[in-house]
């Protein structure tokens, strides 16, 4: 055993154990560590926003008499704070509308292409899909899976006859998808736990080389 002499490692280890104590039951140590994390994460982010965004992009140029139009932009941004003044809270709609308009304009055409058209193209089975047997089988399976899964979410007609059979196949595909997601979730959570134990047993206690 080769205990760490670094006080930061000790602080980190104690806070990790405080969070893990929740596995036994809710307690003040867990609450303390949780609140500390939220506070530090927000404080860290706010500091960076100030030093990396607001000072170089707004405060410095304006204080040097450059880009004075930024004052108008900042004033619109400050309207977000009117949410705390009931009589003026309607003004918050102005910056929200600007951000929403810009974001939708930038996002929608590109998302249509990237997430709908490109995905549709990927489901089309062509001669090149059969470059080898397995790619051909997977391509056909993906096509069937997409049709069956989408038919399960087709609510405009009563589920009878062929639609019932196809949507039943869709349920199977969806369940397989859920199973894969659950398996991956278990793997992810265990991985995070391993990471903490690597730290506790290795960096802190020195039991792992």
């Amino acid at each position: 055993m080769n205990l760490s002499h670094d006080p930061w490692v000790w602080i980190s280890a104690v806070l990790t154990l405080a969070i893990f104590s929740f596995l036994y039951k809710e307690n003040p140590f867990y609450r303390f560590a949780e609140h500390l994390y939220v506070g530090i994460a927000n404080g860290y982010a706010i500091t960076f926003y100030w030093h990396r965004i607001l000072v170089p992009s707004l405060v410095r140029p304006v204080s040097q008499g450059e880009k004075l139009w930024l004052i108008a932009v900042a004033a619109v941004g400050l309207l977000y704070l009117t949410r705390f003044i009931p009589k003026l809270s309607w003004l918050v709609r102005i910056p929200i509308a600007i951000v929403l308009g810009y974001s939708c304009g930038a996002y929608i055409p590109r998302a249509l292409d990237a997430q709908i058209i490109q995905q549709l193209v990927a489901t089309i089975v062509t001669r090149s899909s059969f470059a080898n047997v397995w790619t051909g089988i997977w391509a056909v399976l993906i096509l069937l899976g997409v049709i069956a899964s989408v038919s399960y979410f087709f609510f405009s007609a009563e589920r009878r006859g062929p639609l019932k059979a196809v949507s039943y196949v869709g349920i199977i595909f969806i369940m397989v998808g859920f199973g894969a997601s659950f398996g991956y979730t278990v793997m992810a959570r265990i991985s995070l736990f391993i990471g903490r134990l690597q730290f506790l047993l290795g960096d802190w206690l020195g039991l792992v080389k």
Partner: protein
């Protein structure tokens, strides 16, 4: 009360204790598990390997400390690969809390290479061989702006140096100079890279993601929008394995620490334990239900 009834009513804290033990023991008494590489990881590795020499590898650190265990080993492995091949490497962060992690990885890997360098050519120098642009916001502006001029989006790097004065930036002007951009993310940011950087500028993308979100990203791998993908700690371990084999073939035996590969024995025992729990739980459920039926 039968054993099956007791199993159904077992306190969940016993389950936690078992998981603690089955994860901790293989870390203390390790046994080697050699990760079998999967096609998504091989494709990513091969793409980095076969990119034209003048193209840079860019790593976007889009994760925060809560997913460090899964994603940090990917970042380290990709940095090692980029530096080992003598590629220009650019690093940025899309999450402000990822800045410290990115710097830690860069410092660690640069030290690994520089401490073994025999000449200036073997070493990796900030501003010449790699650049850490840091973080800025919003992501739409960053992703679209990098397609025009990276120095406009990041006028100064993480350390406060003007990026226009860095020699590496003469060869790293915009997406045209990037052979592959890998988004290592604990969220849906890789999709934003597809939407803004790939759809508009055609940059080649790959992703390193947490296992939780792996199922959501497979369609983009199938469509070719991602050239490759690393899923969770297992994906990182596979990449470490491929890189280690490549370095060995080249005669470079550095015995660098492989955190993800080290974790695979614990991952395996934990999965076996969870599978046993699921099987036992189901057996107990069906037996007790059968007994209750009149």
């Amino acid at each position: 009360m039968s054993i099956w009834d007791r199993l159904q009513a077992v306190d969940r804290r016993w389950v936690y204790l078992v998981i603690w033990v089955v994860v901790a023991l293989p870390l203390i008494f390790p046994f080697r598990i050699r990760p079998v590489t999967s096609p998504p990881v091989e494709k990513l590795f091969d793409h980095v390997d076969s990119m034209p020499e003048d193209k840079a590898l860019v790593l976007s650190v889009d994760f925060t400390p809560d997913t460090q265990a899964e994603l940090f080993p990917m970042l380290v492995a990709l940095l090692r690969h980029g530096f080992a091949d003598g590629r220009r490497v650019g690093v940025l962060a899309m999450q402000v809390q990822g800045l410290g992690l990115a710097e830690e990885a860069l410092t660690q890997v640069a030290h690994e290479f520089n401490s073994r360098a025999k000449s200036h050519d073997d070493s990796v120098v900030n501003g010449e061989d790699y650049v850490f642009w840091g973080w800025t916001t919003p992501e739409v502006t960053v992703m679209l702006g990098m397609g025009e001029r990276i120095t406009n989006v990041f006028p100064v790097d993480y350390y406060g140096t003007k990026t226009a004065e860095l020699s590496i930036m003469n060869h790293l002007r915009n997406y045209d100079d990037i052979g592959l951009l890998v988004s290592i993310a604990g969220s849906a940011i890789p999709l934003s890279w597809i939407n803004y950087a790939q759809t508009q500028f055609g940059v080649r993308l790959a992703c390193g993601i947490t296992a939780v979100s792996a199922a959501d990203f497979y369609p983009y791998l199938n469509s070719g929008q991602f050239v490759g993908m690393l899923s969770g700690m297992k994906g990182a371990a596979e990449y470490e394995e491929l890189l280690d084999a490549k370095l060995l073939r080249r005669g470079t035996e550095w015995s660098l620490r492989r955190r993800a590969t080290e974790a695979m024995s614990s991952q395996t025992t934990a999965h076996l334990a969870i599978m046993a729990f699921i099987v036992l739980g189901n057996i107990a459920f069906f037996i007790t239900r059968a007994k209750r039926k009149p």
